[in-house]
Amino acid sequence: MQHYITRYVHIDGRAIYVDGTLLYGGETTDAEFLTEAYKGMGLDYPKFYKMDPLSRLAILATEALLRGRRLTQEYKPEDVAVIISCAHSSLDTDLRYQQSMATAPSPSLFVYTLPNVMIGEICIRQGIKGENTCFVSDSFDPDFQADYVNGLLTGNRAEVCISGRADYLRGEMNAFFMLVEKIPASLGEYNSQTTKQLYERQWKN
Protein backbone atom coordinates (compact mmCIF):
# COMPACT_ATOMS: atom_id res chain seq x y z
CA MET A 1 0.00 0.00 0.00
CA GLN A 2 1.30 3.43 -0.94
CA HIS A 3 1.12 6.58 1.17
CA TYR A 4 1.62 10.13 0.09
CA ILE A 5 3.08 13.39 1.31
CA THR A 6 0.27 15.91 1.13
CA ARG A 7 2.19 18.85 2.58
CA TYR A 8 5.59 19.52 4.10
CA VAL A 9 7.12 22.28 6.17
CA HIS A 10 10.65 23.54 6.85
CA ILE A 11 11.67 25.93 9.60
CA ASP A 12 15.30 27.02 9.64
CA GLY A 13 15.29 29.64 12.38
CA ARG A 14 14.85 32.52 9.97
CA ALA A 15 11.83 31.50 7.95
CA ILE A 16 8.99 29.03 7.58
CA TYR A 17 8.40 27.30 4.25
CA VAL A 18 5.36 25.28 3.21
CA ASP A 19 5.88 22.97 0.24
CA GLY A 20 9.06 24.92 -0.50
CA THR A 21 7.27 28.27 -0.61
CA LEU A 22 7.94 30.97 1.93
CA LEU A 23 5.11 31.26 4.45
CA TYR A 24 6.79 33.55 6.96
CA GLY A 25 10.13 35.33 6.97
CA GLY A 26 11.39 36.62 10.27
CA GLU A 27 13.53 39.58 11.22
CA THR A 28 14.90 37.97 14.35
CA THR A 29 16.78 34.78 15.07
CA ASP A 30 17.18 32.37 17.99
CA ALA A 31 14.27 31.81 20.34
CA GLU A 32 12.99 35.28 19.54
CA PHE A 33 12.20 34.12 16.01
CA LEU A 34 9.71 31.61 17.40
CA THR A 35 7.74 34.28 19.24
CA GLU A 36 7.91 36.60 16.25
CA ALA A 37 6.64 33.86 13.94
CA TYR A 38 3.83 33.01 16.36
CA LYS A 39 2.64 36.60 16.21
CA GLY A 40 3.34 36.94 12.49
CA MET A 41 1.25 33.88 11.69
CA GLY A 42 -1.64 35.37 13.66
CA LEU A 43 -1.88 32.47 16.09
CA ASP A 44 -3.93 32.79 19.25
CA TYR A 45 -2.82 30.14 21.72
CA PRO A 46 -1.52 31.81 24.91
CA LYS A 47 -0.09 28.52 26.19
CA PHE A 48 2.56 28.91 23.48
CA TYR A 49 4.34 31.46 25.67
CA LYS A 50 4.77 28.92 28.45
CA MET A 51 6.37 26.31 26.24
CA ASP A 52 10.06 25.67 25.84
CA PRO A 53 11.64 26.53 22.47
CA LEU A 54 11.52 22.94 21.19
CA SER A 55 7.77 22.72 21.79
CA ARG A 56 7.27 26.17 20.29
CA LEU A 57 9.13 25.04 17.20
CA ALA A 58 7.03 21.88 16.93
CA ILE A 59 3.80 23.83 17.42
CA LEU A 60 4.74 26.34 14.70
CA ALA A 61 5.71 23.55 12.29
CA THR A 62 2.38 21.83 12.91
CA GLU A 63 0.39 25.04 12.53
CA ALA A 64 2.09 25.70 9.19
CA LEU A 65 1.59 22.08 8.13
CA LEU A 66 -2.12 22.02 8.94
CA ARG A 67 -2.94 25.58 7.93
CA GLY A 68 -6.61 25.60 6.92
CA ARG A 69 -7.15 22.03 8.12
CA ARG A 70 -8.28 20.43 11.34
CA LEU A 71 -7.28 16.78 11.08
CA THR A 72 -9.63 15.64 13.81
CA GLN A 73 -12.57 16.91 11.76
CA GLU A 74 -11.46 14.68 8.91
CA TYR A 75 -10.17 11.69 10.86
CA LYS A 76 -10.88 10.09 14.21
CA PRO A 77 -8.52 11.61 16.80
CA GLU A 78 -7.24 8.07 17.48
CA ASP A 79 -6.29 7.65 13.81
CA VAL A 80 -3.90 10.60 13.72
CA ALA A 81 -0.30 9.66 14.54
CA VAL A 82 2.64 11.93 15.34
CA ILE A 83 6.12 10.51 14.80
CA ILE A 84 8.95 12.98 15.30
CA SER A 85 12.69 12.68 15.78
CA CYS A 86 15.31 15.04 17.12
CA ALA A 87 19.05 15.19 17.73
CA HIS A 88 19.45 17.03 21.01
CA SER A 89 16.41 15.76 22.85
CA SER A 90 15.38 18.33 25.49
CA LEU A 91 19.00 19.31 26.22
CA ASP A 92 18.36 23.04 25.78
CA THR A 93 15.71 23.01 28.48
CA ASP A 94 17.65 20.50 30.60
CA LEU A 95 20.53 22.98 30.78
CA ARG A 96 18.29 25.89 31.70
CA TYR A 97 16.58 23.76 34.34
CA GLN A 98 19.99 22.84 35.75
CA GLN A 99 20.83 26.55 35.96
CA SER A 100 17.56 27.27 37.75
CA MET A 101 18.54 24.78 40.44
CA ALA A 102 21.20 27.23 41.63
CA THR A 103 18.40 29.38 43.04
CA ALA A 104 14.99 27.73 42.89
CA PRO A 105 14.26 24.86 40.49
CA SER A 106 11.62 25.99 38.03
CA PRO A 107 8.57 23.69 37.83
CA SER A 108 7.59 25.14 34.47
CA LEU A 109 11.02 24.32 33.04
CA PHE A 110 11.03 20.86 34.61
CA VAL A 111 7.90 19.78 32.75
CA TYR A 112 9.72 20.33 29.45
CA THR A 113 12.74 18.19 30.29
CA LEU A 114 11.59 15.39 27.99
CA PRO A 115 11.62 15.65 24.18
CA ASN A 116 8.29 13.90 23.67
CA VAL A 117 6.56 16.75 25.49
CA MET A 118 6.64 18.61 22.18
CA ILE A 119 4.44 15.85 20.74
CA GLY A 120 2.13 16.15 23.74
CA GLU A 121 1.78 19.86 23.05
CA ILE A 122 0.94 19.16 19.41
CA CYS A 123 -1.67 16.59 20.45
CA ILE A 124 -3.25 18.91 23.01
CA ARG A 125 -3.43 21.77 20.54
CA GLN A 126 -4.83 19.63 17.71
CA GLY A 127 -6.96 17.23 19.74
CA ILE A 128 -4.94 14.26 18.48
CA LYS A 129 -5.12 10.97 20.37
CA GLY A 130 -3.31 8.55 18.07
CA GLU A 131 0.02 6.76 18.24
CA ASN A 132 2.97 9.02 18.94
CA THR A 133 6.67 8.51 19.40
CA CYS A 134 9.74 10.70 19.64
CA PHE A 135 13.03 9.21 18.46
CA VAL A 136 16.42 10.68 19.30
CA SER A 137 19.15 10.25 16.70
CA ASP A 138 22.24 12.27 15.75
CA SER A 139 21.07 12.78 12.21
CA PHE A 140 17.78 12.44 10.40
CA ASP A 141 17.17 8.83 9.37
CA PRO A 142 14.51 8.85 6.62
CA ASP A 143 14.86 5.09 6.03
CA PHE A 144 14.01 4.21 9.60
CA GLN A 145 11.28 6.81 9.96
CA ALA A 146 9.59 5.97 6.65
CA ASP A 147 9.58 2.29 7.58
CA TYR A 148 8.04 3.08 10.93
CA VAL A 149 5.37 5.45 9.62
CA ASN A 150 4.48 3.28 6.63
CA GLY A 151 4.14 0.35 9.02
CA LEU A 152 1.66 2.29 11.13
CA LEU A 153 -0.42 3.29 8.13
CA THR A 154 -0.30 -0.09 6.40
CA GLY A 155 -1.25 -1.83 9.62
CA ASN A 156 -4.21 0.57 9.99
CA ARG A 157 -2.91 1.75 13.34
CA ALA A 158 -3.23 5.24 11.89
CA GLU A 159 -4.89 6.85 8.88
CA VAL A 160 -2.73 9.93 8.75
CA CYS A 161 0.63 10.85 10.29
CA ILE A 162 2.52 14.00 11.10
CA SER A 163 6.08 12.85 10.60
CA GLY A 164 9.42 14.57 10.62
CA ARG A 165 12.09 16.16 12.71
CA ALA A 166 12.37 19.08 15.11
CA ASP A 167 15.53 20.08 16.88
CA TYR A 168 16.56 23.04 19.05
CA LEU A 169 19.70 23.83 20.99
CA ARG A 170 20.97 27.23 22.11
CA GLY A 171 19.13 29.18 19.44
CA GLU A 172 20.00 26.80 16.61
CA MET A 173 16.91 25.12 15.24
CA ASN A 174 15.47 23.19 12.38
CA ALA A 175 12.18 21.51 11.74
CA PHE A 176 10.98 19.40 8.86
CA PHE A 177 7.42 18.10 9.11
CA MET A 178 5.44 16.13 6.57
CA LEU A 179 1.79 15.21 6.48
CA VAL A 180 1.47 11.62 5.31
CA GLU A 181 -1.90 10.37 4.15
CA LYS A 182 -3.38 7.50 2.18
CA ILE A 183 -4.80 9.74 -0.53
CA PRO A 184 -2.67 10.33 -3.66
CA ALA A 185 -0.97 13.73 -3.72
CA SER A 186 1.24 15.58 -6.13
CA LEU A 187 4.15 15.88 -3.72
CA GLY A 188 4.87 12.23 -4.20
CA GLU A 189 4.87 8.90 -2.55
CA TYR A 190 6.02 8.81 1.02
CA ASN A 191 9.23 6.84 1.22
CA SER A 192 12.78 7.42 2.35
CA GLN A 193 13.92 8.66 -1.04
CA THR A 194 11.23 11.35 -1.38
CA THR A 195 11.78 12.32 2.22
CA LYS A 196 15.52 12.74 1.66
CA GLN A 197 14.92 14.83 -1.45
CA LEU A 198 12.50 17.18 0.28
CA TYR A 199 14.62 17.38 3.42
CA GLU A 200 17.84 18.13 1.58
CA ARG A 201 16.27 20.48 -0.96
CA GLN A 202 15.45 23.10 1.61
CA TRP A 203 18.84 23.20 3.23
CA LYS A 204 20.47 23.73 -0.16
CA ASN A 205 18.37 26.87 -0.80
Binding site: T35, P46, Y49, K50, T103, A104, P105, S106, P107, S108, V111
Partner: protein
Protein backbone atom coordinates in the same frame (compact mmCIF):
# COMPACT_ATOMS: atom_id res chain seq x y z
CA UNK B 1 -0.31 45.10 44.01
CA UNK B 2 0.94 46.40 40.64
CA UNK B 3 4.43 45.15 41.42
CA UNK B 4 3.06 41.75 42.35
CA UNK B 5 1.07 41.58 39.10
CA UNK B 6 4.23 42.32 37.15
CA UNK B 7 6.08 39.59 39.03
CA UNK B 8 3.28 37.10 38.32
CA UNK B 9 3.31 37.92 34.60
CA UNK B 10 7.09 37.51 34.49
CA UNK B 11 7.27 34.35 36.62
CA UNK B 12 4.47 32.59 34.72
CA UNK B 13 5.50 33.77 31.24
CA UNK B 14 2.13 35.41 30.65
CA UNK B 15 3.51 37.47 27.79
CA UNK B 16 0.06 37.88 26.27
CA UNK B 17 -1.23 39.67 29.38
CA UNK B 18 -0.37 43.13 30.66
CA UNK B 19 -0.06 43.35 34.44
CA UNK B 20 -2.60 46.16 34.55
CA UNK B 21 -5.14 43.92 32.80
CA UNK B 22 -5.26 41.57 35.79
CA UNK B 23 -8.02 42.57 38.18
CA UNK B 24 -7.24 42.67 41.90
CA UNK B 25 -10.10 40.25 42.58
CA UNK B 26 -10.05 38.33 39.31
CA UNK B 27 -9.83 34.56 39.85
CA UNK B 28 -6.39 33.36 38.78
CA UNK B 29 -7.26 29.72 38.14
CA UNK B 30 -9.67 27.96 35.78
CA UNK B 31 -12.30 30.50 34.75
CA UNK B 32 -10.12 33.54 35.41
CA UNK B 33 -6.61 33.74 34.02
CA UNK B 34 -6.71 30.02 33.34
CA UNK B 35 -3.66 29.14 35.40
CA UNK B 36 -2.88 25.47 36.02
CA UNK B 37 -1.13 23.31 38.62
CA UNK B 38 2.35 24.09 37.25
CA UNK B 39 1.56 27.78 37.57
CA UNK B 40 0.62 27.16 41.21
CA UNK B 41 4.08 25.70 41.79
CA UNK B 42 5.63 28.72 40.08
CA UNK B 43 3.67 31.00 42.42
CA UNK B 44 5.12 29.11 45.38
CA UNK B 45 8.60 29.66 43.91
CA UNK B 46 7.78 33.35 43.43
CA UNK B 47 6.83 33.76 47.10
CA UNK B 48 10.08 32.08 48.12
CA UNK B 49 12.34 33.99 45.74
CA UNK B 50 10.87 37.47 45.92
CA UNK B 51 9.54 37.57 49.47
CA UNK B 52 11.32 34.79 51.33
CA UNK B 53 7.99 33.28 52.27
CA UNK B 54 7.50 29.53 52.32
CA UNK B 55 3.95 28.31 52.01
CA UNK B 56 3.79 26.45 55.31
CA UNK B 57 0.71 24.42 54.50
CA UNK B 58 0.18 23.36 50.85
CA UNK B 59 -3.53 22.96 51.48
CA UNK B 60 -3.65 26.75 51.90
CA UNK B 61 -2.73 27.12 48.22
CA UNK B 62 -6.21 27.40 46.73
CA UNK B 63 -7.11 30.13 49.25
CA UNK B 64 -3.82 32.02 49.06
CA UNK B 65 -3.60 31.92 45.26
CA UNK B 66 -7.23 32.68 44.58
CA UNK B 67 -6.65 36.28 43.45
CA UNK B 68 -3.85 38.85 43.35
CA UNK B 69 -5.43 40.48 46.40
CA UNK B 70 -5.37 37.23 48.39
CA UNK B 71 -1.70 36.71 47.51
CA UNK B 72 -0.88 40.30 48.49
CA UNK B 73 -2.67 39.87 51.81
CA UNK B 74 -0.78 36.64 52.48
CA UNK B 75 2.53 38.35 51.71
CA UNK B 76 1.67 41.29 53.97
CA UNK B 77 0.65 39.01 56.82
CA UNK B 78 3.69 36.78 56.60
CA UNK B 79 6.29 39.44 55.96
CA UNK B 80 5.14 41.25 59.07
CA UNK B 81 5.19 38.04 61.11
Amino acid sequence: MQTLKGQIVEQLNLQHIKPEDIGDDQPLFIEGLGLDSIDALELIVLLQQKYGIKLANPSEGPTVFKTVRSIAEYITAHKAA
